[in-house]
Amino acid sequence: MSRLWLFEETINTDVLAPGFYMKSPLAELSQHCLEAVRPEFASKVKKGDVLLAGDNMGVGSSREQAAEVLKFLGISCIIAKSFAGIFYRNAINLGLPAFLLPKDSQLPKEFVDGSSVVFDFENSILFLEGSGIQINLDPLPAFLQELINDGGLVPHLEKRFDEK
């Protein structure tokens, strides 16, 4: 069982990975993740939690630490209405699954910040614990699913180079 972290607003890279701490090790940077907008996030988030965001998730910088800190803090997948392109690629490359809500679909109102959820990776479904309510997410394109299955771009390339 995981906690759902729901963000209605657009989350940008600068609040995910604040510039001033970019020189610091990941463990320290991650402690400042989202502190400008949700100060309790970094200390309360647990392994396996799911982050659900609004439009243009991860807009801004190309710094991949914006996705990496979420993975480091335990977020198991990110779901959004839409993603900023660079952030989306970064998340997948780091082996952090990122799913889109189906176009024009509404998030059932029963899903709120703090909801207990279960994510079915195989079928891309987010279940609201003990309610029978679910959201079917757009599955990843096959070549990106392969990247995720390999654990991200680096292990994927290791595999490719080994095969040669």
Binding site: D14, N56, A84, N93, F143
Partner: protein, 422 residues
């Protein structure tokens, strides 16, 4: 009919043509990295993959984020960067000479038709030279450096058309803030934007760079401008080699059914964008009673030679108001030297400006020079996200260098035309 984006991508993936939506693997002509997302991030990955960079001549390294060096941590980042560049036999290394997006073209590295990646979100700046250039993260960059390739979903082209002529004291920056309001920060949909229309071609190459640069603020993958004689003159004067077939990249007719957003330059007023998004823009007049603490002329977006010259044209013979600090971080050493020779720096200094190093500076918020709690800044930069340039309670408004300079003189935000009629 093909678009400029499709033509470059087709060349890069060695196909006769490509269609939007198709996923292709492209050969990279140039990969640019900087001190933040560059060597310190890609080195461990390349070591793990047991690979050196695929082609050292196609890699450009610039130090610009951790400048000035002000701590042991940042010194270590610089040392690692220098060692790695040597170890990889990379000749194209520009150390503390300015911001990557400005330095790479001024050293003649970009030309029409190239397919390029940069380890920074403002990499679409290269689009001003008719190059398909876009930003990627460090792991993806390591993949490019190891293989010389990257996958891409062929984008649609969204056209931003500016007809008419800009009025005096209205700039490329104002065009972009107005475009951000109209189509939003997600309006580019990670597709290719192409700027067309007479007001675009009337702009100098450095002004065009402001447009391409802020394609990032529209959420586009890149921001192209078809090359013309001005582009070619710039490249030649930067020591770059112009491809003989450059005119074949002069493609700017919207394809049938394309998304074309039309704007009229002749009715555009100076713009200011309120915190915390570039899309919160309005005519500068709407902010005429807003007070602020720091006037900032900085960054790849807003401190190139043309931007320094614009600020100086307003500040000539004037002083900034008491209570305002004006900070100027010229985008490159070359632009700063030119501004010095032309008397522009003297004008800025006499008006009361304080100069900062040729680096990302306050815009990136990486260093000690940043906004304090509650400080309000009027900035010629691209991005005013909460906390980006300093404390979470600081606030950033965006405007053109003309508007920043005029507002610094008045002591409140203003349409620069009000000051200049007096």
């Amino acid at each position: 009919m093909t678009t400029l984006a499709q033509k470059i991508i087709a060349n890069a993936c060695k196909k006769s043509d490509v269609a939007p939506g198709e996923v292709v693997v492209c050969k990279v002509d140039l990969a640019m990295i900087h001190d933040s997302g560059g060597p310190r991030r890609v080195k461990p990955i390349l070591e793990k993959l047991n690979r050196k960079v695929w082609d050292a001549e196609k890699v450009v390294v610039v130090t610009d984020h951790y400048v000035p060096i002000e701590s042991e941590e940042t010194r270590a980042i610089h040392e690692l960067t220098k060692k790695w560049v040597l170890n990889q036999d990379i000749q194209n290394f520009y150390d503390q000479q300015g911001i990557c997006h400005v330095v790479v073209p001024e050293k003649g590295h970009l030309k029409p038709g190239m397919f390029c990646v940069g380890g920074d979100s403002h990499s679409p700046t290269g689009g001003a030279f008719g190059a398909y250039m876009f930003g990627i993260g460090a792991t993806e960059m390591a993949g490019v450096l190891a293989t010389g390739e990257i996958w891409l979903k062929v984008p649609k082209t969204i056209f931003i058309k500016w007809k008419g002529k800009l009025n005096n004291l209205v700039t490329a920056k104002d065009m972009m803030l107005a475009t951000c309001r109209k189509i939003g920060m997600g309006g580019g949909q990670y597709q290719a934007i192409q700027y067309i229309g007479e007001a675009i071609y009337d702009l100098s190459v450095q002004d065009r760079m402001t447009l391409s640069n802020m394609a990032a603020e529209l959420g586009a993958q890149t921001g192209l401008i078809a090359p013309d004689d001005k582009t070619i003159d710039y490249i030649k004067s930067s020591g770059g080699l112009v491809p003989e077939n450059w005119k074949s990249f002069r493609l700017d007719e919207p394809t049938s059914g394309a998304n074309v957003n039309e704007f009229d330059a002749s009715t555009l007023s100076p713009q200011i964008a309120a915190p915390h998004s570039p899309e919160n823009s309005e005519n500068a007049d709407e902010f005429s009673n807003t007070v602020f603490d720091v006037a900032y002329i900085g960054a790849c977006t807003g401190a190139k030679y043309v931007d320094l010259a614009a600020a100086a044209s307003v500040l000539k013979g004037r002083k900034i108001a008491s209570g305002i600090s004006l900070k100027v971080a010229p985008a490159s050493l070359k632009d700063e030297k030119q501004a010095l020779e032309d008397g522009i720096l003297k004008i800025l200094q006499d008006a009361g400006a304080e100069f900062l190093p040729n680096s990302c500076g306050i815009c990136a918020g990486y260093g000690k020079e940043r906004l304090a709690e509650g400080q309000v800044c009027l900035s010629s930069t691209a991005r005013n996200f909460q906390g980006r340039m300093g404390a979470p309670t600081s606030e950033v408004y965006l405007a053109s260098p003309y508007t920043v300079a005029a507002s610094a003189v008045v002591g409140k935000m203003t349409d620069p035309r009000k000051l200049m009629v007096n």
